[in-house]
């Protein structure tokens, strides 16, 4: 069996909602039925067969050729794997509950927003509000793991509730803002206002931060037993954080944001 592949016949002119192209909705369908699936393309609907050349028969393993206009990739998927070959647009992995979404290029705004499970892996960069809550909502990512090999934009993990976001590059401003819980690890640099209004949760920082807000207090340098355990939890994932170079137990602990609940922490890995 070969992966069910969707190859764009021509570059996209409008934004395309590919949320129906997930294993949950494709398993059991014939190629004819798959071709007839209608997708929202700009302000009208269009059959998948008109946009994509469709090949393969294993609907548990779906591949879509990428475009920055390809929105909602893997939305709500619960199983199987979805590979975007190239870039993805906004909302990749939104509301995902299981399975694995891999984007070989970069992804746009709101990647993995309100993620509920599964693994989202982005080879390139991501836009703002990675793993955050949708506008007006108060609960961002609540489970699962997000791996970003490149850089992330602002407000990563906004209102994040649980799970892990692992950023191998740099992250923008307001990292972990309004977090309720969960873990965000960043290997590179971060922008201003990290942990703004975070109530609980952990920011695990390997690079030097630009500045830490005045509402975070220094608790000193410590050997934390849970750190090796946390990093051990990432074994098996293909990320820098699962390798020996990330394994540390020493970290400077900054408690905050003391202007709110103050039970969060920024750990500056030594």
């Amino acid at each position: 069996m070969t992966a069910l592949s969707f190859t764009l016949k021509s570059p996209l002119q409008q934004r395309l909602d590919v949320s129906p192209l997930v294993p949950d909705l494709l398993v059991g369908k014939s190629q004819k039925e798959v071709s007839a699936l209608t997708l929202q393309y700009g302000n009208h609907r269009i059959a998948a067969g008109e946009l994509f050349a469709i090949e393969g028969d294993d609907a548990e393993s779906v591949r879509i050729s990428g475009s920055p206009k390809l929105d909602f990739a893997g939305r709500g998927m619960t199983r199987g794997s979805l590979v975007i070959e190239g870039d993805a647009g906004a909302y990749a992995g939104m509301h995902m509950k299981g399975g694995r979404l891999y984007v070989s290029g970069s992804a746009g705004l709101y990647t993995a927003c309100e993620l509920k499970g599964g693994i989202v892996e982005i080879s390139g960069n991501v836009g703002d509000l990675l793993g955050g809550a949708l506008p007006g909502n108060k609960k961002g990512m609540s489970e699962g793991v997000v791996i970003v090999r490149g850089d992330a934009g602002d407000r990563v993990g906004d209102h994040m509730r649980r799970g892990s976001i692992l950023i191998e590059g740099n992250a923008g401003s307001y990292l972990g803002a309004r977090m309720t819980a969960g873990t965000i690890a960043v290997r590179g640099r971060i922008g201003a206002c990290a942990g703004y209004a975070m109530k609980r949760g952990t920011l695990l920082l390997y690079g030097s931060p630009v500045a830490i807000g005045a509402t975070f207090n220094d608790c000193g340098l410590h050997t934390l037993g849970f750190l090796p355990l946390l990093l051990k939890g990432y074994y098996g994932l293909d990320t820098w954080f699962s390798g020996p170079q990330a394994r540390r137990a020493r970290a400077r602990r900054l408690a905050g944001d003391l202007s709110v609940q103050g039970k969060g922490e920024i750990l500056l890995v030594a």
Binding site: R162, A181, T183, R200, T202, H222, T223, L224, G225, F226, P228, L229, L230, K232, G233, K263, E265
Partner: protein, 298 residues
């Protein structure tokens, strides 16, 4: 049946169902893991008055522990789930939480989940932090030496308690030497503990007493100094009897341990004063698990 001059009685050990859990105690080094685990499993020889039966199962390499530090695994057994949960929580709180550098993890994932750090976390007085790692919840409780890391729950499974055998010897030192050899062999068997001090019991008991308030009293039939006073089970040359009690996660585990222990005791043989191996039973009325010595040693 005679093994190396030791007579194996045609009798059986009688065991009963219990509930059990395994916990893993880690620390900066094995010395401190043992301090915590020994305190936690202390005064846990018999459910008659201790609330639970517990013991250290084995030492663990750093590669075997969740946090990559040296540790030991301990098994705890009780007659019911409520009792086990209560004993575990009390002992973990008083003995592991208090012990420097310690951390406490579940050693059994399956079965009904009972609290480990679930309530101990409140010791953190609001400063405790929860972390879910690999689908399991852990608590980081701030303490004076750093943080006490404790998994939220551990699994409780059905188990077997009260497996036993008696070693009858010509003298007290010889009986103890045979018991020591047996315990050394049995400690290599996984999933079992011998909860009494050093694994050996000298006070093998019978059910009831002439005193109404006592549920158990000395097993006069196997007391050498009462040979002339009671209906004895001992022949004239027997001067000392010692018992090894075994709790296991299954009857198969107890069978393996009994075989290893009896083999080791018989290894010393009649030449070293070991004359008989017998077992404690209550005529099959105590529990559904019967361990026939001769079948085990066949």
């Amino acid at each position: 049946m005679i093994i190396n001059g030791v007579h194996i009685d045609e009798t059986f050990a009688e065991a009963f169902p219990m509930r059990a859990t395994r916990v893993i105690v880690t620390a900066q080094n094995l010395k401190w893991a043992h301090h915590a685990a020994q305190a936690m499993t202390g005064f846990a020889t018999s459910v008659i008055a201790c609330g639970c039966e517990a013991g250290i199962e084995r030492e663990l390499d750093p590669a075997e522990t969740p946090d990559g530090r040296p540790g030991v695994s301990a098994l705890l057994f009780a007659m019911g789930g409520k009792g086990l949960a209560k004993q575990l929580e009390t002992r973990a709180g008083q003995c592991v939480l208090t012990s420097p550098t310690s951390a406490l993890f579940a050693g059994i994932d399956e079965g009904e989940q009972i609290p480990l750090g679930k309530n101990l976390r409140y010791f953190g007085d609001g400063f405790q932090i929860s972390k879910r790692i690999g689908g399991k919840r852990y608590w980081r409780v701030p303490v004076m030496d750093g943080e006490f890391l404790c998994q939220e729950t551990t699994g409780m499974i059905k188990a077997v308690g009260g497996g036993n055998f008696l070693i009858l010897a010509e003298s007290q030192p010889q009986a103890l030497a045979a018991c020591e050899a047996a315990i050394e062999a049995m400690r290599r068997i996984p999933n079992v503990i011998m909860p009494f001090p050093g694994g050996v019991v000298r006070s093998g008991s019978k059910v009831g007493s002439k005193y109404k308030t006592l549920p158990a009293s000395t097993n006069d039939a196997f007391c050498p100094t009462l040979k002339g006073q009671t209906r004895t089970e001992l022949s004239p040359e027997i001067e000392s009897v010692m018992e090894i009690v075994i709790d296991g996660l299954s009857d198969a585990d107890i069978t393996k341990a009994m075989r290893a222990g009896i083999e080791a005791a018989c290894g010393l043989g009649a030449a070293n004063g070991i004359r008989r191996v017998s077992a404690g039973n209550y005529g099959g009325k105590l529990g559904p698990f019967l361990f026939h010595l001769r079948e085990i040693m066949a």
